[in-house]
């Protein structure tokens, strides 16, 4: 069965510091990869996605993620975080040709002043 692993359940980081949220998936076939962000008591919002093409994808608010097929990873990075980035982040995978999205257990990012 497909699975997504987010090893870090919580990541505290100071404002303006860099951050990396890790995501690994188990699949040997073609996949689509996603990062979602969730603010308290809200639904999930798409942050960025990899469908095909360039392995480095970026969001409009400074996050980026790199698809690494050999390591089956899709880590999320930001060079300088803001207080407003405090939220929970979910990595998800969808195997090509299937309907379902499989989510990791989430990483709670807390940005400290």
């Amino acid at each position: 069965a497909q699975s997504v692993t987010q090893l870090d359940s919580q990541v505290p980081v100071f404002e303006e510091a860099p951050v990396e949220l890790r995501c690994n998936y188990s699949s040997s076939v073609s996949v689509y990869l996603f990062w979602y962000v969730q603010y308290p008591n809200q639904g999930l919002q798409l942050l960025l996605k990899y469908l095909s093409g360039s392995t480095l994808v970026e969001s409009i608010n400074g996050f980026e993620a790199e698809f690494n097929k050999s390591q089956t990873s899709f880590h999320l990075r930001k060079p300088s975080v803001h207080i407003s980035d405090t939220a929970e982040y979910f990595c998800a995978v969808r195997v090509s040709g299937t309907y379902k999205y499989i989510f990791g257990t989430g990483t709670r990012l807390k940005v400290l002043a």
Binding site: Q6, S9, Y32, F34, Y36, N41, Q42, G43, L44, Q45, L46, K49, L51, F90, A92, S96, G97, T98, Y99, K100, Y101, I102, F103, G104, T105, G106
Partner: protein, 112 residues
């Protein structure tokens, strides 16, 4: 923009009640999903539907059923609510075989 609307943000129900959670999407997506979200467990798929009147069980279907009579609407039904069904419920929709899922705002259900 795609909009996925869940009928309630917060619900409080009594044990044994039949509970309906409604979800509507406005972008003609074929796929619709119901997830529940619990701390430390992430999102777990309850049911999904890839067409009108078509449904498939997800990972945790026990105690739930679904209905999709129209393409834009997907309902989750708790036949007899129990306290262990207290959770955040998230509805999502997507195109049939590509792209991302779009989520509603969630319904926080408390069963007392």
């Amino acid at each position: 923009d795609v909009k996925v609307t869940q009928s309630s943000r917060y619900l409080v129900k009594r044990t044994g009640e039949k509970v309906f959670l409604e979800c509507v999407q406005d972008m003609d997506h074929e796929n619709m999903f119901w997830y529940r979200q619990d701390p430390g467990l992430g999102l777990r798929l309850i049911y999904f539907s890839y067409d009108v009147k078509m449904k498939e069980k997800g990972d945790i279907p026990e105690g739930y059923s679904v209905s999709r009579e129209k393409k834009e609407r997907f309902s989750l039904i708790l036949e007899s609510a129990s306290t262990n069904q207290t959770s955040m419920y998230l509805c999502a929709s997507s195109l049939i075989l590509q792209g991302e899922a779009f989520f509603g705002q969630g319904t926080r259900l408390t069963v007392v």
